[in-house]
Symmetry: D2
């Protein structure tokens, strides 16, 4: 089968002809990929930013990227009963054990034995992918793999952060979304579906802000240097209860907490930068800073319900698998509108 | 009456003869001070670290320090019904309005109109102090003002942070307390009373660690450079669910998050330093950093229940009010064992 | 001034000419009534169902009914700073102390010294009403007293119950609203605003069910004896996570828990009947039954935000104060569409 | 092997010689029983109280009772990695799937495909028992199967209810435990370990109350008809925040809610009776009634941590397996002190 593989850091992926994965354990599931989302993390991987993690996990090159996968069940192991061949499925991004405390407590993203295909083993930029029965979610008739694949990581991560924030977002509160891109546009829709908060979207791009209004933004703010002041103005000088940051670098991570009111929470999703907060500020304002790592299987199932109900839709651009490097370059250069989806 | 007042930053306090406070509003309460705790924040105030806040609040020098106060009701305004003259009381450190959302929601430390005597108005290093009826807690017969005064801020702050942490501390979890001093020794007792967690105490002083065991520490770790490794060892290489940091400066704030396990929480109480965390670390480990600002009136009432039940006791050293500068110097130079209490 | 007063149980109210209330305490507020909602509880009071509570509180006849009040500030006591004469306000239905634990913890409906005008003291079926400064919520320019008055109890109670339920209502869950009347139609809108749950409305009246769809019902079920089966069908045979019952009598309270799935919660708001549940059922299904008593001041403030944002609107019918008995009869006989509002 | 089996309702169990269970699936685990707890539910099963459930599940007589099991791993299926032959283990009472939402969300007692050995399939009153890998908890060296077996259901159920209650039990609150027997004596110890609440124990037996004090009761009340008044007295006329009822029949379920304060919660664990609550009472007091069904695997793991730490110990009486009917008669007739444990 075809697979888009990384042979060396800092190189383009190559379309290789490789063996199809085979069932080896009773809980294995082979999925025929219908769509695989392209993520900024794929660029980070190519650029060696995850080298340390990959070496720690013993990753051997070449290997196949792709951690946002959806498709159809192609083959199942002897013990699999939750899906059948032919079912349309989306894949939770981790392969999890089901035995550890985290897996049992709704925190399977912290599975003690979790593995992340596309990062530490072969992923979904290919015709087929092997995963475990615990990690497939059966989709209803209305959902196409290519239309939902990006929910497997981008959507899940946005949803997970919004769900945490939702607990504190009662009527009259403000939620700031920084970055109206691949994850941000899902977060806006999730905030709209889950909370009565006033949604303020901050982005550099006026085009993205215009789209944000369609997705549910109540207020939009151009990130032109005045964004903290503008957020303060909209929030009556108090700041927002929640700031959800999908950038997390290039200084945004230093500005974001300044948009909070006392006792507010800064949700970090984008990465690349460093926090710049005095302990004095932490205590005087009693703010919290909360990291966010993808989400749980149940989170993804909930998000797929919202997708099936039409409450959350993805903005995507498709590429054939062979054009993976074009897609990566488009993403790198800001030419990719919406989430890029590779079709094998 | 006598009052210990600050005339200029960086100077010793002076014992001045000043007018007794008088009832001016229907909800005013005048308290005869029985004991006033000395706090590291008093040193910070003297050393001009709160200059900006004080100027913002229009503080006029000289003014009286002291924000950890307990005593007896001396006089009450016309509308006061919750206490009577002669009642033994401890004072919540803020004067709060009772009308704003925060006051009604159990977050009165974020009162929209809150005022903090001892910082922005005359405090309790004096014979009498004026406060509001909302801010006095009536004590039972077994509690003496001088024995509990330090709960008004030190105890309250420790209790408030522990109460937040307690939600995640089920049997088998680990809570690290960094700093077994004025606040830390209360936190240890509160953790013991409120949670089944294994309590690990980290401090530079072996004497403090020895005392910690009496207060309820299950494990003690000398902060000699190996403390992160030791905590990891005790926690089976995973780290602790909660790290409660009463130092927050001199590099401790950089080490503390390294003692956390994935999805753990770092509670910041001590201050003076700056966080040193990459956004990448925040998301990859999904940790949280939580600021802590004193606590609510209800928190203080709960803590006084623990005190009355003998579950939390304070380690104190008393000084006559006239010796306030000796006490401050002793605190500054590490010669003060336990919390210093001034007796007018 | 005019006031509609109850002189004896089981009698019509009389329109009496009485003295206007006067400021006697520093925190008093006199409100000129712009609209006063008529509640089924007013019928219950007239019919002596609250006799025991009223006798316990020492109520003297004749007295003025009316506990759903909104209007304009007419006069304020010397210590009042949160509202000014002329402000448009809605009144929290209790007069609360602001000192007890409940008032400080966001549970002011359980105020240790709370008083409920219209039940135990003169209410708002009059030109003027005296309340306390703590119990008035200032409204924005877009809201008219007569359009929002019914939120003071009907809306607040519905919102409070929905807010409790919302914690468990993630995407894919089901919430059943039993009774699409004065409270139910607000609950539907609140569920829509606060949760992503699928909303199932059960009522005897097909007309009410038709209106429910406009308010946000996803599914409607006629209470014709098949309603439990229908709810089971809609919920894939599992039952709903939440059943919110605005009837609570005439057998509805016996059927309602049968619509729950395992671990679901039955919210009781309507009253008149008795629970019919075996302890064996409670443990085998692990369901919960949750009582609901109006709501807090902050709840009402949140609801007024939803009203100002246009997310919750009331269905009302106005009557002049003099027609109070007509209104009560209409309510009693099912002729009242929407909530009846008396205009003095 | 020997097994104590029920051949017909209302008959004594018989000691039969049956085949040892065999591994048939990759996740099967065969446990050599070291101790099996006897539960009042075993009497209920014998007396046909679970006939409907058993028929629904297609139970074929004769079958082996016993749902509180601990022992040593005897044999494992091909895919089992979490335990090894020889490990000491306690068994979660359900066999759960690990795939459904409940299993992933920490509510595996509501597993969509859960099975309960001892009720609907062969249980642990035998030399060997077959379970699944997901349902065994490995024990540390200090714990013996016969000493902890009763935690598998009695302990778990008590712990699960206490853990729910603990969220509302801050310093100064009261928790009433009704019934200081097999479950109650564990609940008292769990309350002591997890909460700062004042623990009030109500029981008919003065001997049981005396023992309760050793387990951690702060106050004891003889159930002689004055128990509601006594609880009211101890709680300053307000009632308790939590009433945890291990009886749930013979009128206790009618008295229990009367011991609650406003907004308190009644936890139902014992069963046999029927709730006797007006919907009016539910709303006027805003109390909750919460059913409790065993607990989750993680709950049991937490409880085993408390057991290993010596914070919870069981009061037991052992019988050889052959004496199972003596044990059942002793339990039925109140002659059994502590939890009865059968040793094969």
């Amino acid at each position: 089968m075809k697979a888009a593989r990384l042979h060396n850091y800092h190189e383009d992926l190559r379309i290789d002809d490789v063996d199809e994965p085979a069932i080896t354990g009773p809980n294995d599931v082979i999925v025929r990929i219908g769509g695989a989302g392209l993520c900024r993390t794929d660029l980070h991987i190519r650029d060696a930013d995850w080298k340390e993690v990959q070496q720690g996990a013993g990753v051997q090159f070449p290997y196949t990227l792709g951690h946002e996968n959806a498709g159809w069940v192609h083959e199942v192991g002897s013990a699999v009963t939750n899906v059948e061949v032919g079912d349309t499925v989306i894949l939770h991004p981790l392969i999890t054990c089901g035995f550890c405390r985290a897996c049992r407590a709704g925190n399977d993203m912290h599975c003690a034995a979790g593995s992340f295909p596309g990062l530490v083993s072969d992923g979904g930029f290919a015709e087929f992918l092997k995963t475990g029965a615990r990690n497939v979610i059966k989709l209803g008739p209305g959902l196409e793999p290519k239309d939902v694949a990006a929910h497997a990581d981008a959507g899940l991560t946005a949803y997970h952060a919004v769900k945490k924030a939702a607990k504190e977002l009662y009527p009259g509160t403000f939620a700031v979304v920084i970055g109206a891109g691949g994850l941000g546009h899902i977060a806006i829709q999730c905030l709209q579906a889950l909370t009565p908060a006033t949604i303020i979207v901050v982005d550099k791009s006026e085009a993205a802000l215009k789209l944000s209004e369609e997705w549910g933004a109540d207020e939009t703010v151009v990130a032109d240097g005045t964004q903290i002041d503008k957020v303060m103005e909209i929030t009556d000088g108090q700041g927002a209860e929640a700031v959800i940051d999908f950038v997390g670098e290039r200084g945004v991570e230093k500005e974001a907490p300044k948009m909070l009111r006392n006792a507010g929470t800064y949700y970090v999703i984008g990465y690349g930068g460093a926090l710049d907060l005095l302990t004095h500020t932490m205590i005087f304002t009693e703010i919290s800073v909360v990291g966010n790592l993808v989400g749980s299987y149940n989170d993804l199932a909930e998000l797929m319900t919202l997708a099936a109900q039409g409450k959350v839709t993805l903005h995507t651009a498709t590429y054939p698998l062979e054009a993976v490097n074009d897609a990566m370059n488009d993403l790198d250069n800001g030419r990719l509108q919406g989430r890029g989806i590779l079709i094998p």
